[in-house]
Symmetry: C2
Subunit: 366 residues, 2 copies
């Protein structure tokens, strides 16, 4: 039973517990449908279509300026590079499961010769204590809120404030990997501006909870963003036209930002159902955003056929991608979006019933 089969079975389900539905070109068509054909393209970062959106997000984040990038990978490497250049120290600190460390083919090291110090155990959040004990001078600390690879965990707000104050005192720039910033506002009960004021630079994504096509915003002070535009060109990201990403970012930002509280509530409900199943524990146990990880104590090769049979009998899909965890079991990631409210509630009850029974049977057969 290969992962490909799980993905195929997942794609054939009528209802999915996660996200905003399949990624098809419908999303782009819908974003364009209300716009006039004569709307002018941006041209290498200029033009109303990009400048207006940058201005809007600048205000949402409460920063001086913001620049639209094709990707967060590009935006964040550039942010760290600028802070390193300013301090004359090519050293930063971040979590061992930071996106830059595990998903970017070492671009930060290969293109920018920046050395990262990995803070905290990979299964834990970065705490104030970790920052205080770094021991070496660094240009920048990157915090990812929520910490995606450990289920989207969050420090409490007071600790964030303390880390921010410490960094300012020590002359360490604080950068926010806010790929899922909008998704955590309901938990913190803060505005984006209130969170962002703790940070010197901020990256936000428009295709996670917002559900756009692709694209990112980097925000901070004016001179920082001016410098980032030079690096954006160097990276090959200053495209003649970024508008396909901008119009979809804007469209779904307007549509889904008000739903973040609902996604969060649904995630807590969904996690509660998982946690009642045999040998299942979500991380965090109670989600702090729309996302969480589902850890199952049974091994992947037993869980995969079970999930496939559940998908086939209920028409409801949970994930297309099951990964092994460190304790001999397996896990998957869930991000709640528009799809959750479309699932028939009786169907979902059947899913958890079958999952619970199947996992009981699996564990007793071992």
């Amino acid at each position: 039973m290969t992962e490909k089969n799980l993905l195929a079975a997942f794609k054939q389900t009528a209802f999915r517990g996660v996200g905003h539905g399949p990624r098809t070109i419908h999303a782009l068509k819908e974003s364009l449908s209300d716009l006039d054909d004569s709307l002018e393209s941006d041209m290498y970062g200029k033009g109303a279509i990009i400048e207006d959106f940058q201005k809007k997000i600048t205000q949402v984040l409460g920063k001086e300026a913001a620049v639209f990038f094709p990707s967060g990978t590009m935006a964040q490497q550039i942010a760290l590079r600028i802070w390193c250049d300013r301090k004359g120290i090519k050293r930063v600190a971040y979590h061992p499961l930071c996106h830059l460390e595990i998903h970017e083919e070492d671009g930060l090291k290969e293109l920018h010769q920046i050395e990262p110090i990995l803070l905290a155990d990979k299964n834990s959040l970065i705490r104030l204590e970790d920052v205080v004990n770094i021991g070496e001078d660094i240009a920048c600390l990157l915090l990812e809120l929520p910490q995606r690879e450990i289920g989207g965990q969050l420090p409490n707000y007071e600790e964030l404030v303390a880390i921010s104050a410490y960094c300012r005192e020590k002359g360490i720039k604080l950068h926010l990997d806010g790929a899922r910033l909008f998704e955590i506002l309901p938990y913190y009960q803060k505005t984006a501006e209130e969170i962002c004021q703790l940070f010197d630079s901020v990256y936000v994504s428009f295709y996670k909870g917002i559900g756009g096509i692709a694209g990112a915003i980097l925000a901070g002070d004016d001179s920082f963003l001016k410098e980032s535009v030079v690096w954006k060109r160097r990276h090959g990201g200053d495209l003649i036209s970024l508008y396909p990403y901008i119009v979809s970012s804007d469209h779904y930002f307007e549509q889904r930002l008000p739903n973040m509280g609902q996604y969060y509530d649904n995630a807590k409900e969904l996690a509660g159902s998982f946690n009642q199943c045999h040998g299942v524990e979500t991380r965090p146990v109670e989600p702090v955003s729309n996302m969480f990880h589902v850890h199952i104590s049974s091994p992947k090769e037993l869980v995969e056929p079970l999930l496939i049979s559940i998908y086939e009998s209920t028409g409801i899909g949970l994930t297309g991608n099951l990964r092994e965890n460190d304790s001999g079991g397996c896990y998957f990631e869930l991000s709640v979006g528009d799809q959750y409210d479309h699932i028939p509630k009786e169907g979902l009850q059947k899913v958890f019933l079958q999952l619970d029974e199947g996992l009981k049977a699996a564990s007793s057969s071992r």
Copy 2:
């Protein structure tokens, strides 16, 4: 009279002698209109929508493999980086007005620490003699066909063959900046494959003569492209979805590739009309693609108001961007596309009459 006024006047013209019309979101809407809403997005370089297009262009270029990139800036830096890494020499050679040298904020040097040797005088083409006389060992020679910044000039085919043979003999990789490759095929009377077989790696663009939204293809052998995908991720170019650029590249590739001969013929006709005007000479005198530069011996501050008055009285625009040249005059670039055939011929005659008379008056008033 500022350049901004010239651009504003140009944008108000009903007919334009250049390009495929204003860059508006219409182009993207048109590209999507025939596609089914359920068509799946690419996902980080995988999926039929990107793989099929890569396969198609691989065959057009007669190479082993091809990868779609968001920009040529990214694709070409990466190509040179790979060739440099393979040879263990961080030195390449290209023209002084190469895109990498003048339009990319020194990305090649800043991100890849690659040192370029500038070949030939900036107003001339790179000749075989220049290559033979480099004197230092280089990993790669980049040739841009046509050489855009000098009006889109081309060496003859025999000289290309000789440069290619020399590079192979000396173990120098030959890279083609083919941003306008499709535009030069009518002049050479060769297929893209015939041109590309002279080169080890090839970049082509989809928003020059093809008129897509943005995007580029890098082609070459399998192992080269596999390596390029790693660098694409490092640069932040491995977007979750590149399909907005891919569908428009494909749409306009199909639509406009057959028109390249017509664009070329029109460019020759248009250049002929310019060359009959007082104090005007095109570069090249006879175009070898759809593009050329128009050099005017009168200074920019006299030509700008003349062009604005011509645009206003005829409704026909030629350029929105006039630049000073080295000999006290000014010049602009023209790329012929779909728009040319829409211009009323009598209107165009009036344009050249007024231009000729205006420039005569301007030169006698000095």
